[in-house]
Subunit: 365 residues, 4 copies
């Protein structure tokens, strides 16, 4: 499939509405829904709308350089595919389409333990370019180790440990639409892969978490013992946790509230970013996902201290709308928007964006 | 009826919409409506949405302990059934269903003077576990005393004196739907029980309140003379009143604006909680009701100083939706959500929740 | 017509919706509309919703005294009929119905220069009780003087000089509905009475105001020369203007933005009240109109420094809904709500309400 | 066509809705749409709604003087026609209708490089009165120079250099409606005129801007070499850029975010005005466009430091609604509203409006 296949979509809104039309209703509830009353889901967007960017003019910029490095890997753009599960529920191209589109765009892509294709199949779809593996801990560490070894063998460049799912959040919209992640979609990495627990288990005296949900910071040390891959911790929203991660050898922090799908009342990712950046300083790279939709959002996040930003739902919208070509179209639109936003704020290079482009906060309409 | 009877409901939203469908229209207006323009009703919810919780990760928690004590009685969870009237208007199980479901969940339940079943019938439905009696003062103290003695005899563990209804608030939605509490529903505690006055009585020169509405703090002393039951004062929203209550022997304060049904313009319960907690210190337990819907709300209230929180409308939704089984389902959902929220904020034990889990306030979307 | 005639209405909302149904569409646009985009109209309501009232309990209050005095006249309640034009456009009872209902309620009523009945006819409808005359200046002072003399002769107790209509504001809703105040309704005080100019007059070099619109503070001195009636200045929103009024002999200030019908972007009346009260101190009485709908609003305004509050649109709603009986019903509902609000905030007497009943401002939902 | 032709429209809202009805759907999307999610578009309006004006009364004003000068040219009113493209897409009168209506109103009009009529045709429509030329730089400076020379020859009084369009913003609404500015409408100034680039051009390593998009402040010096016309820089939102403009000889600054069509997340024009005014002081005149709809908006902008304000969309609404007569009607309505707003705030002369008329900011409803 070629880039032209996605050219029918001129805007992100067209990708989203085409995706909604083509996707299965319950899969769409899985894509769009968040936890509880979706306050955090909405807050992710509102946090961007509250920031303003300072327009600058006649800055004499001819070339716009969107490239940067992420843990040393050069990428053409500072946005990446954040890990999301079950691409196959949205389009037969599944993660293969996402991987190829990301490769063509020259950006990093992170694939989930709960991918519809196996991690090896994904690797075949994308033999070159940065590709990371998102890890859900397994109840049994031997199983976790096996996943890590497979990822390392298949050429994944880093482990993104999801730390904010000791159990799943209460995903009402998904539940009401009848999307059961345990059963709806086969897990490409094999039936032996265990998804996170749906709820804590009631006992006679209280509740208990499964072993994977009960993990502590020492899990980072154990992972580093079994793999030489750099570790990125995903799901951190406080400076204190970011420092713990660094102390236990994490090379990067992905500030995230899991797209508003875990703790409904967690702060917006963007609102938490500043605390994490201040705590971590230069000891680790800091990324963000949650609410990034437009080129201006990428610029705001970068100016607020993120080195790169992940895209979650938009990738699924685009995949549902047009498979690989849809995702490629998304990346092209976002690229152009980011280049435009750089031009309009007088920034020539992504790597030099600073907080000087951020204006006073305002109350979004 | 078994727990499975309520298993068709996966979310609070499903309980509410099923309740709306099954309940009589005017009874539903009674359940959902508040006073005046329902500004306070909405503020109760918005106060929770303004708070954020600090997600913590990899905290190494295996067991989640939701139990606590309320006035010394052990309970499995820190939420309780707040007193509401006329359960029989919503489901034939009436307060019996609520009582049994609460007993199975191991939580405290408070029953209203205006229950559809008599307090003795409710006691039979629930021979064990903490059960309190909510008291509406009667115009004649002898009648009040008789109610108190019946409650004490039937094994109720505390008197919850409703202090914020010297007369009923202007409940427009209920009035417009034609729900007249004086006539619609028989009062289980007998026809001699007098509900609060609908309005002050006009005289030639002004307005007068009935004797029960004109009560002063000395009523606590009189109640303590006629009963050895501990007294909880419900409906307090200021530190000054909380201190008065303590001075007159109250053992606990229930911060409440009566679910937004009394003074439309009263502050959100949660916004008033901090003032009360600061005033009372360790001299009395402090509870809250008003706007609690989700596990995260329970956690926010606890972190803001409440020892336990009451559930009003959700119990009526669940009762209308499925009788005892519906209420049992509600408690289970809430239990799981609270356990999940504890896990996601790195709290192992309800009793150790502190304000450190609360983040900066934000403007809810 | 008796009080019972209005008893079909249980709430203010019912009066408003019945009024909307019974009134002529263009007259209703006149009632409900404001200037421009109606930002100030909405702000009047929102200012009340932003305030909270401090609930107090067990205050030991048996009697609620709503009475006060307004410029020395005793009234049963601290709300009054604010002057509005053309009652006859809403109901055949016209100002006669309003006057009789106000008399029965024992409250002050202010009647407009642009009333549908003549001021003498209104006076006959209400031989006793406080009754004031709202004065629109006439282009010719002799005509103004004639109106003043008629009012004095007919027993009106004060002149309420409308100061904020040098020309009419841009009343879009009214214009779009085709309600032309110059032609739609006969003016009861005679065809010689000239309503305010619809717009400034364009000249070759700019715009000019008619003589009545060009009046200065000296007009108060001239009015005091021709009449012994006390003067109330209506339409003041700043401390500086309030002081001017006092310097020129005004006995009272009516803080008002003309119900949001004049300058769209004027502050809410309630937001302006504090500045005026602070400037004036005890040198004049201060009243407020704009956005008062409920008993709690009356209490908030009083606690913010107003001695009394005027009702505009609600009177027209009630008149359209049920003529005199509708208006009487409105006053009774408001009376009961105010008495209830006093009881719920622990205030026994309107005259002793202080700012202590106001809580922290909040963001209304 | 005479003034009476537009007299069927009584309000701005009627002009807008008639325009919407008569205009082509895709042209209307071009008129109404902004960039991205239209956050900045909405912020432009909300910024005005947040300000309040201080009503003043009995100020003794008989004459209202709306006149001022703009770069020395006397005008009857302080609002002007902001440059917008393609008037011919909305009405056959095209820029000729706008020009004649502005001439009759005695106000300044600025015409776009992308006008539907040629600049010479527009000049013929309006031989007298202030008329400025808005310049889009051309990829080739010789072409820019040719445009400038034509404008000078045709009697335009100033060059308004649009500085905030190095490339077009992402105009989703317009794209979704299929309005392509490159093809839909012929450019009156000749097919050799090149509109701004739709997006940066992708290269093997990044993105590049066309030569016109890469201009720096030196372009002002070059323009001053080839023309004696005063230069106004349009699209500035920061004090730093305003100072640059002044340093390079600009005589005036037009604070503008291009009607929310360029960088979605730019601040509201009105919010940026104060920073620009403070930086520039008396070294240049400062104007504003963006969100001005009503007379009160004009007054707010003037009181916030603007010497004059531009009207964008309202002119297009009025043109679509009624051609020249529609636009004339708009100016008359706005004139009357401004005169009324002056009268209601006690200001006799536009030239003496000060920030004293601005009250405290409030949260708009």
């Amino acid at each position: 499939m070629t880039d032209e296949g996605g050219a029918g979509f001129d805007t992100l809104g067209e990708l989203e509405s085409a995706g909604a039309k083509r996707a299965d209703r319950s899969a769409w509830a899985y894509v769009e829904g968040g936890a509880g009353e979706e306050v955090t889901l909405a807050a992710n967007r509102r946090a961007f709308a509250r920031r303003t960017l300072r327009t600058r003019v006649l800055a004499g910029i001819a070339e716009l350089d969107l490239s940067t490095t992420i843990l040393g890997s050069p990428v053409r753009s500072p946005f990446f595919v954040a890990p999301t599960a079950y691409h196959g529920a949205l389009h037969p191209d599944a993660e293969g389409g996402t991987a190829r589109a990301a490769a063509r765009a020259g950006i990093l892509a992170v694939f989930s333990t709960l991918s519809s294709l196996s991690l090896e199949e994904i690797a075949e779809s994308r033999p070159t370019g940065p590709r990371w593996f998102q890890l859900y801990l397994q109840p049994d560490f031997a199983a976790t180790r096996k996943l890590v070894e497979r990822a390392e063998r298949a050429g994944y460049g880093a482990l993104v440990l999801t730390a904010d799912v000791p159990v799943l959040g209460a995903r009402d919209r998904q539940a009401e639409a009848g999307f059961a992640i345990e059963s709806s979609v086969p897990i490409g990495n094999g039936p032996e892969v265990v998804p996170p627990a749906r709820a804590p288990t009631r006992t006679r005296t209280g509740y208990v978490l499964r072993a994977d949900g009960a993990a502590s910071w020492e899990i980072l040390d154990r992972l580093r013992e079994v793999s030489r891959l750099p570790i990125v911790v995903k799901g951190i929203l406080t400076g204190a946790d970011a420092l713990e991660a660094v102390r236990h050898g994490a090379r990067a922090i992905l500030v995230s509230n899991h797209g508003g799908r875990q703790l409904d009342r967690a702060p917006a990712s963007l609102d938490a970013l500043e605390e994490v950046v201040a705590a971590v300083g230069s000891r680790a790279e800091v990324y963000l996902d949650g609410g990034v939709r437009r080129g201006s959002d990428v610029l705001i996040a970068l100016a607020s201290g993120a080195r790169a930003v992940g895209l979650g739902r938009p990738v699924l919208w685009a995949l549902a709308a047009g498979g690989e070509a849809g995702v490629a179209r998304l990346f092209r639109l976002l690229d152009e928007e980011l280049a435009t936003a750089l031009a309009l704020t007088g920034c020539a290079r992504v790597r030099e964006v600073s907080e000087a482009v951020i204006g006073t906060k305002s109350d979004p309409p």
